[in-house]
Symmetry: C2
Subunit: 134 residues, 2 copies
DNA sequence: ATAAGTGTACTATACACAGTAATACACACA
DNA sequence: TGTGTGTATTACTGTGTATAGTACACTTAT
């Protein structure tokens, strides 16, 4: 598995790993029940520390996206059930508001943002049903 | 001026100050040419260090949103011209994509995001013209 | 049993950055 | 002259990221 990591980014490496694996699952490049690379293997290909990969895997498991079986490996969860989280939802709305503010100062209007949102949504969510309620 | 700061947030205090002042300007609660609180005064009301406020002001000035006159104070710029920045625009699009991914795992669909985007845009951009090109 | 591969836990270290603290400087204005 | 302004500098503390090395518990295959 090859991920694009930016060591100079302000977002931690383990968080970048979490983000990109979530995207790979959404795009169905990683399928349910599929085995992920081992901690040591992925740390080798990404040239980062095993602990960093482990931290990313633990966070993904905490979110119920992957499952770990001791001695066997880590696997994409068979069924990923989106769970509503009021606090995270509030944070996400706040993040969206800030994004709109930043866009405004870049001269990007609502229509453009709306178009981007539509494009990304079709690109990401067209294949699966995470975003479809129940 | 009263801002809502969260010392336990992962985003630095100076960045929170930057964000919220940009929002106050967009909402026209802070008007062009209006004087901002002094570094020492704002640090007093917010119970943070003067250096932290200074850092926020310097960042806002770097973005052309406020102007500082040595010995006089800091003021909202007379005319805030949104400047297109390819790199920042790319980052913003990346941020939007990540937001959509996070939303997906929270069970929030495209339609809901689109609605929130519309609401926030009307709430923020209805009064001024930052987002209107030229 | 043995060995290899798995995730996990622990300690230690280095590094960067946020934030605080204290001080000093340069300028505007009354 | 004095006060208020933004700025600069230095030092210190705390926190979090990341690396490094080691050890442990478990699964699987030999």
């Amino acid at each position: 598995m090859i991920l694009n990591l930016d060591p100079r980014s302000n977002t931690p490496i383990w968080e970048q790993v979490v983000h990109q694996i979530k995207e790979l699952i959404l795009r169905e490049i990683l399928l349910p029940e599929e085995k992920l690379p081992s901690v040591r293997e992925l740390s080798g290909t990404l040239l980062i520390n095993p602990n960093t990969v482990s931290k990313a895997y633990q966070e993904l498991e905490r979110q119920g996206i992957i499952e770990t079986l001791r001695g066997k490996g880590t696997f994409v969860s068979a069924s990923i059930i989106p769970k509503a989280d009021d606090q995270k939802t509030t944070e996400l709305k706040q993040q969206l508001k800030q994004l709109i503010i930043d866009a405004s100062y870049l001269g990007i209007d609502h229509q453009t943002l709306s178009k981007w949102l539509k494009n990304f949504s079709e690109e990401l969510g067209g294949k699966n049903s995470h975003a479809e309620s129940e």
